[in-house]
């Protein structure tokens, strides 16, 4: 699905699920914001469209990537963790936990992807439920939950790491390659500078007979080299920080499924 359609579907679902009063006329949507949410949206009424042409004709907000309303809704939704109980069409009594992860790798660039992992809560094994699910409340043995949630999460994480391994390797390699590139030119420059200074002592010795002057010069250059080494180490620290990688495996939602 195109991003534009995804955005439209997402925004309209949000207002419907949140039970905001929404109406549409000629591509212009009007949403009455309940009092409780008015502070957040800073308005009592939102008037918007998804169509650029319409936005030029009517005085209303245009919802596209980067627009304020979209950002507000996304922030609101991504800050609500969710747990739902569901069932398959013909359940046999097996309870499965479906963990939803938002995997986000970041450094000088970033990449992210959604993953879900199904774990049999009893056997603590990876499973894969492909059936359509319907919302359904059911009782679970509290002991089983207490004992197996952490274990099932660990099983899920192991599986997730396996699933994301290629993504991770590619990301780290690309990052490392950039780092190595920068590191190489950085170190080469400093080493060359130190070599140039070192050579200048030899030059001085060749061109001057004044031992006192040569001695003074040597000390001066040694000081410069010490300063350069210090500077090199400091900047190297900054270079490493620049390429520091964050690998985040965010648990964002979960479904308990009677399968």
């Amino acid at each position: 699905m195109e991003p534009e359609n995804k955005i439209r579907e997402f925004v309209i679902s949000f207002f419907s699920i949140s039970k905001f009063q929404i109406s549409e006329k000629s591509g212009v949507y009007t949403v009455l914001v309940p009092e409780i949410n008015q502070n957040y949206f800073q308005k009592s009424k939102l008037v918007f469209t998804f169509d650029e042409k319409v936005s030029n004709e009517v005085n209303c907000d245009l919802i596209i990537p980067g627009s304020k309303i979209l950002f507000q809704i996304m922030t609101l939704c991504s800050n609500k963790g969710s747990i739902v109980k569901k069932r398959t069409k013909y359940p046999t009594g097996i309870i499965v936990v479906r963990y939803h992860f938002f995997v986000h790798f970041s450094s000088t660039s970033n990449t992210s992807k959604l993953f879900s992992v199904d774990v049999d809560l009893q056997k603590l094994q990876i499973t894969n439920i492909v059936d359509d699910l319907t919302e359904y409340d059911f009782a679970i043995d509290p002991k089983s939950l207490l004992e197996n949630v952490t274990k099932s999460y660990i099983v899920a994480l192991d599986d997730l790491k396996e699933k994301t391994d290629a993504l991770k390797t590619d990301f780290i390699n690309a990052n490392q390659s950039q780092y190595q590139n920068d590191y190489k030119i950085f170190v080469t420059k400093f080493d060359d500078e130190i070599r140039e200074l070192d050579n200048s002592i030899n030059e001085k010795e060749k061109t001057s007979d004044d031992l006192e002057k040569i001695k003074k010069y040597r000390f001066m250059i040694m000081d410069k080299i010490t300063d350069l080494e210090k500077e090199k180490n400091e900047l190297l620290g900054n270079l490493e920080k620049k390429y520091k990688i964050n690998l985040n495996y965010n648990l964002i939602a979960c479904e308990l499924i009677l399968s």
Partner: protein, 588 residues
């Protein structure tokens, strides 16, 4: 660098989902689909080349141009998020930086952003970031919200403040996702505190902005690139030996021109005015400076007020200086403002009650200000829109009342209006009213390209404010040449400033952005110097001499800026560093 040292792995469960599972709690079930979809969308945006491009293109508050979007794309996608943005003056380097910052913030690639700019440009940056990108930067200077450098994710500081030991140490302890350095040519000398500070700050992305990165010789370009990618150009000796021809390093070696071009294209983005000429029609600024002869009463009132101020100036300590300067500015703005000045002077015991009464009686005998009379002639003969700026509320009220009494439709804009009222006022000016009368606040953040007549009813003493006001109207997107009407009354300090300072450097016809090059180092204290010279002079000829020599010094600054601009252009001549061509060159 080994993996374990530099990789941080986290398994956040910020909603406490595991705990809730253990306790068999359901939580926001209706939001499951939405939570998944919002993350899916976030992922989609994060993996795009420039997620906010579309929203920028259609943002009515910002005129975004192709070269600016291309520049931002190149910096983000091809140059690793760090670059020297070196467009020629007036092409919107600030906007390019804004796009990049917004993009990185929106896609969670950045959280902490530091902008370092000359003190005279801090307000302009703050204004542009909020009005164009809805990015609320806290300024270290003159912003009551500022507490400490570590407390704000979006921080704006002047170069000169950042190098103060207290601030610089604190800045170094923070890891900055993006650092923007405006007028980056001030980092050209690697031995200065400014250069060393930027070099030593921990950062992921660095944006250096300068239309003139090379001012005297190529070592400056070398030092600036060193900040972006240390070691990229080798040692200075290696660079100098290969790419420069003479000892002073002022000439490029033509043999290696192409090679240097190739190298620089990985760190520099530069667009010229010529390249964008096909879609940006740059309009002229046409100044009309009206220094009017005062009526007898006007002259008497101004002279007597000035005498009182001078008497107080001669007698008082420095603590009174700014107040006296304000009275002087009020006295030149309008008769109503003069009354305001007199009231304040009486309250602060600069004049006694008797003097107050006698001067008020002179003011009452002035039926209409000469400036307003002249302005009425212009407005009545031209039916197009006029944006009138004044620095003071009293003058604003006076002008608005008079215009309305004479049947003109007038919109009012000032800092007392709420956000909604301001929008309403701008809408009225655009759709209904011929005239808007605005105080200084109108100069910040508002775009009035639909109008091409600007009136400086009184004169801002800070040249950057002049630029800010004209810039509301004369900006990319303006379709007509812009008339700038400047008023002053002969014999006032404003007349000297207009005639002997601003006219000498042709301030009002400078190309957009050029003024930054001349006044970037000013700490907004030039107005105090001018007032002091005015007060210390005992005769008109003395004032003239002093202002004339101040004007000469500004003229020199302008000439130096011109030489610098030309040198930068020469160095980059025939260089293909343009964002417009960049994408094609990369085969994208």
């Amino acid at each position: 660098m080994t993996d374990t040292e530099n990789i941080r792995i986290q398994y956040p469960d910020k909603f406490g989902i595991k705990e809730k599972l253990r306790n068999d709690l359901k939580h926001n079930p209706e939001f499951l689909e939405l939570a998944l979809k919002s993350h899916e969308l976030l992922s989609l945006l994060q993996n795009q080349k420039l997620a906010i491009t579309e929203s920028l293109r259609v943002n009515k508050n910002v005129s975004i141009f192709e070269h600016q979007i291309r520049a931002a794309q190149r910096v983000k996608n091809d140059l690793g998020g760090s670059a020297l943005l070196s467009d020629e003056v007036g092409l919107g380097k600030t906007v390019e930086a804004g796009i990049i910052i917004k993009e990185f913030l929106m896609t969670s690639l950045a959280k902490k952003v530091l902008i370092l700019a000359p003190p005279s440009l801090l307000l302009q940056w703050q204004d542009e970031m909020i009005s164009k990108f809805n990015l609320d930067f806290v300024s270290q200077k003159g912003d009551s919200r500022f507490t400490s450098v570590s407390s704000h994710n979006l921080l704006l500081m002047s170069h000169s403040s950042a190098v103060f030991p207290n601030y610089s140490e604190a800045l170094k302890n923070i890891f900055w996702d993006i650092i923007v350095v405006d007028e980056a040519h001030s980092m050209k000398n690697s031995q200065t505190h400014k250069h060393k500070l930027v070099q030593n700050l921990s950062k992921r992305h660095l944006l250096l902005l300068s239309a003139t990165p090379v001012q005297n010789n190529l070592s400056e370009l070398y030092n600036i690139v060193e900040l972006l990618r240390p070691g990229y150009l080798g040692t200075w000796n290696q660079f100098k030996e290969k790419y420069t021809l003479d000892d002073s390093s002022r000439r490029l070696n033509p043999l290696y021109r192409e090679e240097l071009q190739e190298i620089l294209s990985k760190v520099v983005v530069r667009t010229t005015r010529k390249e964008v000429g096909q879609y940006i029609d740059f309009k002229e600024r046409i100044p009309h400076t009206n220094i009017l002869e005062p009526t007898e009463k006007e002259s008497l009132l101004y002279r007597q007020i000035t005498d009182c101020i001078r008497e107080a100036y001669d007698a008082s300590e420095d603590s009174n200086f700014l107040a006296l300067m304000t009275y002087q500015r009020l006295a030149a703005s309008s008769t109503r403002c003069s009354k305001r000045a007199l009231y304040k002077m009486k309250m602060n015991k600069v004049i006694d009650g008797q003097k107050y009464d006698s001067l008020i009686s002179i003011a009452d005998q002035i039926p209409i200000d000469s400036k307003l009379l002249d302005l009425m002639k212009i407005i009545s003969s031209d039916k197009s829109k006029f944006l009138i700026f004044t620095e003071f509320y009293a003058t604003q009220d006076y002008v608005v009342e008079y215009l309305k009494e004479h049947g003109y439709s007038v919109a009012v804009f000032n800092g007392k209006l709420s956000v909604d009222e301001r929008s309403e006022s701008v809408r009225n000016f655009k759709n209904k009213c011929q005239i808007m009368v605005s105080t200084g606040a109108g100069g910040e953040g508002q775009n009035f390209q639909f109008c091409h007549n600007v009136v400086n009813y009184d004169l801002p003493w800070n040249p950057m404010k002049v630029e800010q006001k004209i810039g509301r109207v004369h900006r990319i997107g303006q379709t007509s040449d812009v008339n700038i009407y400047n008023y002053a009354i002969h014999g006032t300090i404003e007349a000297y400033i207009l005639e002997l300072l601003y006219e000498k450097i042709q301030l009002f016809t400078m190309v957009l952005g050029e003024m930054d090059l001349i006044f970037e180092d000013s700490e907004d204290n030039s107005s105090q110097t001018w007032f002091k010279e005015f007060m210390d002079s005992k005769s008109e000829s003395e004032i003239k001499n002093k202002f004339s020599s101040l004007g000469d010094s500004l003229k020199n600054q302008k000439e130096v800026a011109e030489v610098v601009k030309n040198f930068s252009s020469d160095v980059f001549q025939n260089f293909n560093l343009s964002a417009i061509k960049g994408e094609d060159d990369n085969g994208a």
